[in-house]
């Protein structure tokens, strides 16, 4: 069978392209090396939907970010993931930084970023009283927001699958062969043929391109460490706080996450593609920096930490477009603001495919909406009663900390969760204060039952992330004593 398009990489970019293409009458497959989509960079980032004024207008990322931002309210509504337009403030820590704010404002306005306002020190401290009293002023952008990025990923792929996209997980691409008019992709279990191959492999994109002989760009993984703070810090800032940007990154931020906790980070350190560790040095640099913005932040309030990798291309811009190899399209170097730009990248790639000769006929049965898993804990008592009456499994609380019901867990499994992390990021089971101490076992049992796997086969996040082993006496020749 010949696919019209095969997308390599199930991060937010691959998923957004898949969802965009699912509007049309084409055969599309998405190939993901991990056990579930969104388990790489897309799971481990700041979760910010940028207003769009940071990236220079002459860059591709600068162009796609504003359109991406505009797409998010509708996307979140259709796919049922949370999106809070909390706004962001770029803070000048001293008078020397004030001109940079004006330059940013001018840049943003030229790009069509709405609502930008310069705030003087008084206004800034009135709006965000926990900022350092030494700040000089700020640039407020009301359209910036926060999401849980993995929820966006899950929503995109679920909607794409509803509309006919095939998803292959645990399928690392081993090689790509150029054939006459199509390309063949080899994975450990499949040989797939497609007219177009879209390389959305994130930090691995240069390796994938090299499989068809393209070596015209490199990808440098750049690690970012992030630190989540205790709920007691909730509300210390209400908007995303940026410093005036430095050359390499947008700097270290203070982020009121979608769930209302405070996150600080990221760091920026060039590493190899396997290094997703947090470090003492990283924690120090993050806290030393953010305390210049918000002095009450302290490492003792850390309750969780993680690191993710940015896919930084040698051009320091997105690399999106057809290549010297017919049918092979690169969507590479998608670092920040890639999450924001994702919906715009989806459309951009669609247009490239059209230009390259793929016939795209809109399907009249495209269903843009997914039915999100209803979050029991968010319901009123009346709604909870009604829900339990309709679905008795809603009365079984699996995760006590986040009040997640058995029916939510089962629905998440039916929607593609195959691992403990998959459950955690879909329905928050194990994400609360006990970090799975109480519900891990029940989640493993439910995964085992629904997927028809022995309990020992359940993993944290696929691959070699096994959780338990059989007893050492698991021996068929046991005697019966009763």
């Amino acid at each position: 069978m010949l696919y019209d398009a095969a997308i390599i990489g199930g991060g937010v970019i691959g998923c957004a392209i898949a969802r965009e293409l699912s509007r049309y009458a084409v055969r599309v497959v998405l190939i993901e090396k991990e056990c579930e989509v969104g388990f790489g960079t897309s799971k481990s980032n700041s979760g910010i939907i940028h207003a769009g004024h940071h990236a220079p207008p002459e860059t591709l990322k600068g162009q796609l970010v504003v359109e991406g931002n505009r797409a998010f309210p509708q996307l979140a509504e259709e796919l049922g993931f949370g999106f809070k337009q909390v706004g962001e403030i770029v803070v000048a820590r001293n008078a020397d930084e004030l001109p940079a704010l004006e330059a940013l404002k001018a840049r943003g306005e030229a790009k069509g970023v709405p609502g930008l306002e310069l705030w003087d020190r008084e206004r800034l401290l009135r709006e965000e009283p926990n900022l350092s009293p030494t700040v000089a002023g700020g640039l407020f952008a009301p359209t910036a927001g926060v999401i849980n990025p993995y929820e966006c990923c899950f929503g995109l792929i679920q909607n794409a699958r509803m509309n006919g996209v095939e998803l292959l997980v645990e399928s690392p691409v081993l090689g790509i062969d150029r054939r006459d008019g199509f390309l063949s992709i080899k994975t450990p279990r499949q040989l797939l043929h497609a007219r177009f191959v879209i390389n959305a492999a994130g930090v691995h994109a240069a390796k994938i391109a090299a499989m068809v002989g393209l070596t015209d760009f490199t990808i440098q993984p750049r690690k970012g460490e992030e630190y989540m703070l205790d709920k007691r810090m909730k509300g210390v800032v209400r908007r995303i706080i940026f410093p005036v940007p430095a050359a390499t990154t947008k700097g270290t931020l203070v982020i009121p996450t979608f769930d209302g906790t405070i996150m600080v980070g990221p760091t920026a350190e060039d590493v190899d593609e396997h290094d997703i560790s947090t470090t003492d040095a990283g924690a120090r640099s993050v806290f030393d920096f953010v305390r210049t913005l918000v002095p009450s932040l302290h490492p003792r309030d850390t309750i969780a930490e993680f690191a993710g990798l940015r896919a930084v291309s040698d051009s320091n811009d997105f690399i999106i477009g057809p290549t010297a190899v017919p049918g092979f399209i690169n969507v590479a170097g998608i670092q920040s603001p890639g999450l924001t730009a994702a919906p715009a990248i989806g459309r951009y790639v669609r247009d490239i495919l059209k230009d390259e000769g793929l016939t795209l006929v809109e399907r009249d049965d495209f269903e843009p909406r997914v039915r999100p898993i209803p979050r029991f804990s968010a319901l009123s008592m009346e709604e909870k009663r009604a829900r339990i009456a309709a679905d008795p499994a809603s009365a079984h609380i699996v995760c006590r900390c986040e009040e997640v019901t058995e029916s939510e867990v089962v629905e998440a499994i039916d929607q593609g969760a195959r691992t403990l992390d998959g459950l955690k990021f879909r329905v928050r089971a194990g994400m609360g204060r006990c970090q799975g101490g109480f519900c891990t076992w029940r989640c493993m049992e439910l995964l085992s039952e629904r997927l028809g796997l022995p309990i020992e086969a359940i993993t944290k996040r696929g691959g070699g992330s096994w959780l338990v082993i059989p007893r050492l006496d698991a021996d068929p020749n046991e005697e019966a004593s009763r």
């Binding site: 007893r471 006496d473 021996d475 046991e478 005697e479 019966a480 004593s481 009763r482």
Partner: protein
């Protein structure tokens, strides 16, 4: 068993207080011992036993079928010689019971010839 020479120190495991005990073999006609540091009778007898015939309670599980859990907790009815603890655990690997079981039921009689039974510690 030959009494050891010198003063032996140990922590009493008889109760959560964990007294620091000292035992010294004095020899002589009455096979005399000096035992110090105990707070109760149990501590004194533990110290004497620990240097001549150390024993431990063993608590582990055996396989159970037809119950809501896969393992049934069991223990020795009284302490067994310390050097047989691991052997008993291995022996119990081969024991498999079927629900229902009542607390106190013997799941292995006269374990390893010690004269001590292994009993279920819950009903399941």
């Amino acid at each position: 068993m030959t009494p050891p020479d010198g003063v032996q120190r140990m922590v009493c495991i008889g109760c959560p207080i964990g007294c620091q005990l000292e035992v010294e073999y004095l020899g002589g006609d009455g096979d005399a011992w000096r035992i110090a540091g105990y707070d109760c009778k149990k501590g004194k007898s533990y110290a004497a036993e620990e240097v001549t015939d150390p024993r431990r309670m063993v608590a582990t599980t055996v396989a159970i079928e037809g119950a809501s859990w896969r393992r049934l907790p069991v223990r020795t009815a009284s302490p067994i010689p310390k050097d047989q603890v691991l052997a008993l655990c291995r022996r119990l690997h081969a024991v498999r019971v079927t629900s229902p079981v009542a607390m106190g039921d013997v799941v292995l009689a006269d374990a390893l010839g010690t004269g001590v039974d292994v009993i279920a510690t819950r009903s399941l």
